[in-house]
């Protein structure tokens, strides 16, 4: 396989609140290769977005803190960088697309200005004409029609799908090695979502960029990702190639999650539903975090956290049931 661009090892992120330490991410490891889309799937509050923010070192301060682990981006240990060094990497080597294009653009600047900002910052281009050409090519790269006119538009003059493309153009403007996409299509309509995802598949073929795709939607995972990690209450429970996750999932949570999604190609009378709720991150159970809701729970599950086991090449599971 091609080179590893991003390696995350035992990442732990906590929020220190008045009520105590909230362990939002409790030891997460994965790696992303060149030209690969790696999916991070889970329900709300499972730690997907905090993982993304930790990679960007954009955790809300004070409160949010990376308490352990390593993040290696292109050979650089991100956690050892100073703030100034991190600023230089952010946007040029690693960039991010947020969920809601309505709030991630500045309403009082034209989209052209907003795309120009990272180019000016990271590539030191100040000549207006050169900058404008760069901005136009960034918009064209995201297949925005008539970019010459569009650069003078303000965000409110664009539709949601177009705005999300602008956000994509900003993220891609300096050709980063890693792109983090945090639920980029959740706010978009179905046919617009299909357009956007197809566009990303195109872009990846052209640039060999590694994409960390965060989503709760298994449909999007199937269409986009090469490999997937399923997250629950701050930990990764299972990692495998996308087709393995769908065809031969091993962790009871993965199985339950896939079965609880209604399918267009199947008629069922009842959906499988997982009873109960995810545990509070303030007060985690000592054993497996899924144990209280697990249909196959055993005594040991309540006592000890299961180790991650590699069942076959590229397929790892943390579950006592799996030997």
């Amino acid at each position: 396989m091609s080179d590893i661009v991003l390696e995350v090892e035992n990442l732990q992120t906590s929020f220190f609140t008045r009520a105590g330490e909230v362990k939002a991410v409790g030891g997460v490891s994965f790696e992303i290769h060149e030209g690969e889309t790696f999916g991070l799937v889970g329900e709300s509050a499972c730690g997907k977005s905090v993982t993304a923010l930790s990679l960007m070192r954009l955790l809300p301060e004070p409160g949010g803190q990376i308490v352990g682990g390593r993040i290696i981006l292109d050979g650089i240990n991100v956690l050892e960088l100073t703030k100034e060094e991190m600023r230089k990497i952010r946007g040029s080597k690693i960039s991010m697309i947020l969920q809601d294009p309505m709030t991630s653009l500045n309403p009082v600047y034209t989209v052209g200005d907003q795309i120009a900002e990272p180019i000016r910052q990271h590539q030191g281009i100040v000549d207006r004409n050169v900058l404008e050409d760069e901005v136009i090519s960034a918009l064209r790269f995201l297949q925005i029609p008539a970019p010459e006119q569009r650069i003078h538009d303000y965000p409110f003059q664009m539709s949601g799908g177009m705005r999300q493309r602008v956000v994509g153009a900003i993220a891609m403007s300096c050709r980063p090695r890693i792109l983090i996409a945090d639920e980029p299509t959740t706010a978009l309509d179905a046919t617009i979502q299909a357009q956007y995802l197809a566009l990303f598949n195109d872009i990846q073929k052209q640039t060999d960029i590694g994409i960390l795709f965060i989503t709760h939607d298994f449909g999007v995972v199937a269409n986009m990702c090469h490999r997937v990690a399923v997250m629950y209450a701050g930990r990764i429970l299972e990692t495998a190639a996308t087709s393995t996750i769908f065809k031969a999932p091993l962790h009871p949570y993965t199985v339950a999650l896939i079965n609880s999604v209604p399918r267009l190609d199947r008629k069922v009378d009842r959906l499988y539903s997982i009873e109960g709720h995810p545990p509070s991150l303030l007060n985690l159970p000592p054993g497996c975090r899924f144990a209280p809701r697990c249909p196959d729970v055993m005594d040991i599950c309540y006592e000890q956290q299961p180790e991650e086991i590699e069942v076959e090449d590229g397929h790892t599971v943390s579950c006592w049931k799996v030997k």
């Binding site: 357009q195 199937a222 769908f246 609880s260 209604p262 008629k267 959906l271």
Partner: protein, 324 residues
């Protein structure tokens, strides 16, 4: 009128005037809904599907009488609801048609206890005593899977799924015939969605409820509904039994929607299952295209599509609005 028909909508139309200047001159109309007809049988579920701006929610508002019709009529048990007197509306229509909103974080008063939220329709519409209301509220909570001791909690003490259960309990308080569910699960997490959808189905079987579901997720629709109407820019483009429409779609827009919501694994893509990607976006309802409204994005559009609006025609087992 067929015996089992509960709701019949004929040629619903809603145009919002667009005004300009000091004198508020009307310079045009937003054609939010343009001639929509459908019917729902008692105890069945109809889903209205479409992207934002298609007019789904406007239709539901007209049925809930939160918006007035520009043209057309709505028959509830054979009676035109816009011809009912105020008194009849309050007594005979509104209590029998209830709704559950999309976002359980904004559909409840944060200062009211669950007991009062669920009991409010009873206070307003019935002459029950306090004690009767109390018992009824506890019954309702039990039906939707909440514990009776949670009745004194406030909404913020519940998770999203539990709040949606409270909203369902409130909608059921008056034993309605029709419940309008506006994206009932789209704000919820995957594992919670399944719980709520199962609950809604169970309640339907138990009380012979009729649902009008507004949705954009076709997989949810397939699970929930008996009939489905696919909407695009204020019109129905395909309408029929869910199984027929979703298994063998005829309209190109339905096909594209289905393609967009089908799981395609990487190896399926290699086997040549090409996803249908539509170009462009939905045009503005202020200035819809002259011919077929979908013609600007349709992968198979012909000359006639750009000139003439196709009629909604019966094709085999469903209705389709397409020249082809």
């Amino acid at each position: 009128m067929a015996d089992g028909l509960l709701l019949e909508c004929n040629n619903l139309t809603k145009h919002y005037p667009v005004t300009k200047g000091l004198l508020q001159r009307t310079i045009g109309y937003v054609r939010a809904i343009d001639g929509i007809s459908f019917e729902i049988e008692r105890g069945k579920t109809l889903s209205l599907v479409g992207e934002s701006g298609a007019g789904k929610t406007t239709v539901s508002k007209m049925i809930l009488m939160l918006e007035r019709l520009t043209a057309g009529n709505i028959l509830f048990e054979g009676r035109d609801i816009y011809k009912l007197s105020r008194h009849q509306l309050k007594r005979e229509y509104r209590p029998r048609v209830q709704s559950v909103q999309q976002n359980p974080w904004s559909s409840m008063n944060p200062r009211m206890r669950v007991r009062d939220i669920v009991g409010e329709p009873l206070v307003v519409n019935t002459k029950h005593t306090r004690r009767q209301i109390r018992t009824k509220v506890l019954e309702l909570l039990e039906q939707v899977g909440l514990a009776p001791d949670q009745a004194d909690y406030y909404p913020h003490e519940f998770s999203g799924g539990q709040r949606q259960r409270i909203a369902v309990a409130r909608a059921l308080a008056l034993n309605p015939s029709l419940v309008v569910l506006d994206e009932p699960v789209s704000a919820l997490d995957v594992s919670i969605r399944a719980q709520i959808m199962n609950l809604l189905k169970d309640l339907q079987d138990q009380y012979n409820l009729t649902y009008l579901v507004i949705a954009h997720n076709l997989a949810t629709v397939r699970f929930m509904s008996h009939t489905v109407a696919i909407m695009y820019l204020g019109q129905i483009v395909e309408y029929g039994e869910t199984e027929y429409v979703l298994q063998e779609p005829l309209h190109p827009y339905t096909k594209a929607l289905i393609s967009a919501s089908t799981l395609t694994l990487p190896e399926d893509q290699e086997q040549g299952v090409e996803p249908i990607i539509l170009s462009g976006e939905m045009p503005s309802p202020l200035n819809p295209p002259p011919g077929c409204r979908f013609s600007t994005r349709c992968p198979v559009s012909k000359d006639v599509c750009l000139r003439e609006m196709p009629e909604l025609k019966k094709v085999e087992n469903r209705w389709v609005r397409c020249h082809q």
